[in-house]
Amino acid sequence: MANIPAELKYTREHEWAKVEGDRARVGITAFAQEQLGDVVFVELPKVGAKVTAMKTFGVVESVKAVSDLFAPVTGEVVEINGELPKKPELVNTDPYGQGWMLVIRMSSPKDVDGLMSAADYEKLTAGGGH
């Protein structure tokens, strides 16, 4: 059974968003971390940076590849996970929990409507993730 929590929203690029009022907590999915392999480095924007929905906000580097991270929603970064520089492996061990990456204060909470449901995301990953 794929690890795709029902309460989260998803992007086609394998990020998840947990909506908390006008804020969205963001990370990458269990499927994404599995595909990447051991994560060795995560590059995040600074608090205060502006991010745009479906534009890159950082990169995640595994032993196999360096991949862009895409913002699920538009807004301002209000929090980043300060643990990740020291413990990038949290992205592998707990992608929906301690492996979170940043919190975005959404400029338009309607962005959430454009994201995928858990069921849709499950269909995407069942088809190979593309």
Binding site: E43, E61, S62, A65, V66
Partner: protein, 447 residues
Amino acid sequence: MRYISNTSAQQKEMLAIIGASSIEDLLVRIPAKARLSRPLNLPRAMAETELVRHLQRMSGLNAGADDYACFLGAGSYDHAVPSPINHLISRGEFFTAYTPYQPEASQGTLRSIFEYQTMMAELTGLDVANASIYDGASSLAEATLMAHAATGRDTLVIARGVNPLYRQVVETYVEGPGLKIKSAPLGDGVTDADALRKTLSKHVAAVVIQYPNFFGCLEDVRSIADIAHEAGALLVVVADPINLGLLTPPGASGADIVVGEGQGLGVPMSFGGPNLGVFAAKQELVRRMPGRLVGATVDVDGQRGFVLTLQTREQHIRREKATSNICTNVALCALMATIYAAILGKRGLRKVGELSTAKAHYAARELTKVPGVSLRFGAPFFKEFALRLPKSPERVIRRLVKDRLLAGVPLKGFDRAYKDCLLVAVTEKRTKEEIDAYAAALAAAVA
């Protein structure tokens, strides 16, 4: 290397496989007017011995540093090349100009590159150096792109003391990403600190200086580092590593990135190349560093081994999003530098610096005794200096060639403002007799 031709039978076989009836068939798409309709205008064929003699005669027309007292510099220097270098690099295990493409199978090559990186990191005073880039100019261009990526800023401030040819290469590189270039003017031979401050803003990604600069003068790296850092910009220093055995490593004075031409370290001038692009940076910039990087590790049995590391950011994996389009290194030249530095050691490198600067100062004193000849700048210089001449530098150069002296590099081609100037470099190889002969010939030429 011999040219191996193919026979007409082999040509027919190859054509048959691709379904063409003749070589002409392959060329039909090239318009007739773009094609040469007559045979190439080549001299008659020669036998091998005859050809060798012919080419030797042609190469004898060159005025090279082996037969002339060479005072040329401006980026390429006539430092001594110890003979073990040529013997060692000629070994089959090493003798390739290329970076290892099946790296783990080339442990010896990787180890030599690792040692090269270690030496360059120590000489520049920075945490990490890459496996080398083409030359000093491309290293600088890559450094400016790296500063842009690291800071997210889009303006570069390049001091007028940076080699103008390097500046041109930077201009070419940054055209694509659309970076702006501003200049920090020179005072009396070194960057004017107040003028530099006026060029800075929150848009400046990097301040670029050269140490010693293009005119040989010694910049105050520490003060310029402070000025750059106050504005949130990185400091990129262009430095010739051979000088850093004596001079303070720029990394110790606050430079974030140090790049330079490493040709002086055991690589002959060879009329301008191949060269050696040195590239070193602070640890926090390592993931934005272009080019190859060799790391030391241990294998499953705990034995020391070497690997190419951080390759995930290179072109062959990351395609158009790679850190840089460079994923090679100049392996053979880097090896020459490694052997050179190993042979000379800490004291030897220091001695090269001491001799070069002492001889350069002796030369400057003797040459400026010639009536009408003076130093162009007042700032302290290292092994190179600009002279102002009372007669056309080009004519003086031509005249001195007759005395088997390569007098220097005329500055007119770099900047019209220096049309009466000659840039003179003096390495440890120059003798007192050569310098005295230069002074006498110069006196005669400008009299």
